[in-house]
Symmetry: C2
Subunit: 427 residues, 2 copies
């Protein structure tokens, strides 16, 4: 029995998640003789590599997100459902939505992504939001901007210092990008906008447990990134752990830092949906997949992207957009091969390098075992991100914003819109 | 005793509200030997005439709002405070903020604007949000977009019909613009994006108590606007009143219309702050001002914009941006004249006409007793709104968006970001 209407004589592929993996799987199924149902809990595909620019007021949400329906307007074999999938029944081959409806599948591609992990300290989330969704990014944006407002109006020097202190936990790409952007906001963008605060009072602290930032990059690039951060005025604390977070501040190694501004970029855990599969998961909650990315024993169920634990010669593949994109394309091809009666082939990741930006004209880029940094890396970073951004309009607007920001140091989206948050802080 | 720090030997002008009136007052005080404190409950000046384009996903918030601090970065006699003013003490010459601090003034310019009025039926607000702030606009945007999502997924024809029904209450400029834009979204933008709904099923109903839309315009222009709306597929109910609104629908004249999509554009009431002045107000809560816009008996307190009841030969001045702008400039000049020992002069409104847009290439414009409509009026509307929009970046981006929308019928900001709302509707 097919629970969800619209199922005809053709096989149905259900895709859970409209991120890089799910989107590319659906696109690659354009020519296949299957009906595709793409289910996402939001109505948009989010270009996550630029999400930190929403959180730091450089870009507007509309510029890094595109309605999933609009993307598949002309691909008529795709039906989009805006719902959360709460369970997978791998025996009955169906997924259950949060409105209790069930959707049957012949093939299932699970690309539900990951959330922040607080390593068992879930109570920290309230004080140290992470950065995965547009809502997360807008929340961080409002907190940061509101903190400057409160610093401006307070008559208490200690309170002002706390409002002007920002702690970013986690020295991976997201943490480095956030710390660099906040330092730029404090030292450049806001300069001149306030009358009562000396922006040189601002402290931006980046905390990393390893002995270097950007651990997946070469030591040389980590060092370059560290120097760039320090030139921007970021205090980087390496080999340091965060042991407590409250409404008032954070314990960083031996130091208690008073601040309401803590941003979490330290750990990921795969979507809780995967538990309902009842198969092997690693300690980050990722499903350990077969070489063709299917679930052991269930060849018609695939797991891809941040939700998959997939190894190649150099180890477990990282949670990065290129991995998810290539995996999405691969599983769609495996379905197409199956329809033609061909055998599957293992997934092979083609490593085209990785990049992280630190600030204006500062980035690091790694290609295989070599790398480069500085202006050239930054230009490459800009180019690649604009190329992969979805929608011609977004490419143009983001490019204009970056050119303007480069020249003026200004940020386009310095808005506090959430009245409930503002009212809550009115005391 | 001066309660708020930073007060030196110069007189202090306190401005409440960073809308068109307050902003222009502060700018006009640039050359005056006064300290200016501008207080607004948000951090941005909002270009309200384009707010309906946020609500209908055509523009992003950042494009019609500019941080007030950024506007006054170089005008060093202005201090900006992001706070709500909760009371005015006209005898002691101070205002009280929502954090209980007081700000003393020598001159006070009250420009707090207006909110929607539900004519005593405040319980309707929950089901029929109005459109005054960015938060309002984002709320309406999410409701409209989510309604199309729910229509797509439901298996119940009656429910689908309700989700695809939109009722706009009030046929003034905001109501006409909202109804026209929603009709365009339903019939053009969304076309092709959905698989299970026939967008021709969409109903957009505009309800107006008077016998014509756009009552302040000439009858000829009202008629032109009506025809344009009808060509867009809007059902216009004239001389019709709304008598009940619930979570399920709205009573429009004799008809009960099932819909969760009701937008309120029917009435205004001036800010409740004005009550604390304890002076004469009209029935819309506006302060009845002297010819120089001061409060009777208190020549150093002015009320301007939507909060002021100000008459000229043709009646009470309407709640429009040009009135507020001219009044803001006037009161600042009166303060400057006072500092020079010159007498005040009465405010005189220079009517430069008014405009309203109905949709793509459709608008009406009135200049004195004559008017014109159609493409020419629409081009004039676009031009004037881009001219008055604050910020070069916003002018460029909005112009690009409009050109793109004109060609493609697409909308740039079709995003649902408020997880709490989505979760609440997950049942």
């Amino acid at each position: 029995m097919k629970q969800y209407k619209g199922h005809g004589s053709r096989d149905r592929a259900v895709i859970v998640g409209g991120g890089f993996g799910g989107l590319n799987a659906a696109k690659t199924l354009a020519e296949a003789a299957v009906d595709v149902i793409l289910i996402d809990k939001t109505n948009h595909h989010l270009f996550q590599p630029l999400l930190y620019q929403i959180a730091t007021a450089a870009l507007s949400p509309g510029e890094v997100a595109e309605p999933i329906r609009a993307i598949f307007r002309r691909q008529k074999n795709v039906l989009v459902i805006m719902r959360e999938v709460v369970a997978v029944d791998k025996e009955k081959k169906r997924v259950v939505l949060n409105n209790k409806e069930a959707v049957d599948f012949d093939y299932l591609i699970l690309a539900p992504g990951a959330r922040h992990s607080y390593f068992g300290k879930d109570e920290w989330e309230r004080y140290a939001p992470g950065l995965k969704t547009l809502t997360d990014a807008l929340e961080i944006r409002e907190r940061v901007l509101l903190s400057f407002e409160r610093a401006e109006e307070t008559h208490d020097a200690k309170e002002r210092k706390a409002y002007l202190t920002f702690v970013v936990v986690g020295g991976g790409p997201t943490g480095v990008e956030m710390a660099g952007a906040i330092a730029e906001i404090a030292h450049k963008t806001m300069l001149g906008d306030f009358r009562n605060i000396d922006l040189a009072e601002t402290r931006v602290i980046l905390v990393e447990g390893h002995d270097r930032v950007l651990p997946p990059f070469t030591p040389k690039l980590s060092h370059d990134a560290l120097e760039s951060l320090q030139r921007l005025g970021v205090e980087v604390r390496l080999s340091t752990l965060v042991s407590n977070i409250t409404a008032d501040g954070v314990q960083v190694g031996d130091e208690w830092i008073m601040t309401p501004n803590i941003i979490w970029a330290a750990g990921n855990v795969a979507s809780p949906l995967l538990k309902t599969l009842e198969v092997d998961q690693d300690k980050a909650g990722r499903v350990v997949v077969e070489p063709d990315l299917s679930v052991p024993g269930f060849p018609d169920i695939f797991v891809i992207g941040d939700a998959a634990h997939c190894r190649n010669a150099s180890g477990v593949l990282p949670a990065m957009a290129p991995v998810a994109i290539q995996q999405g394309i691969h599983v769609a091809r495996m379905i197409r091969r199956g329809l033609r009666g061909e055998d599957r082939i293992p997934f092979q990741y083609r490593d085209r390098g990785m990049m992280a930006t630190i600030g204006r004209a500062k980035a690091v880029a790694q290609l295989g075992k070599t790398g480069f940094s500085g202006l050239l890396a930054w230009l490459a970073w800009c180019l690649v991100h604009i190329m992969f951004l979805i929608g011609f309009r977004n490419k143009v607007v983001v490019m204009l914003e970056w050119m303007r920001a480069y020249i003026t140091y200004q940020r386009a989206a310095r808005l506090i819109t959430d009245r409930s948050r503002v009212d809550a802080q009115n005391s």
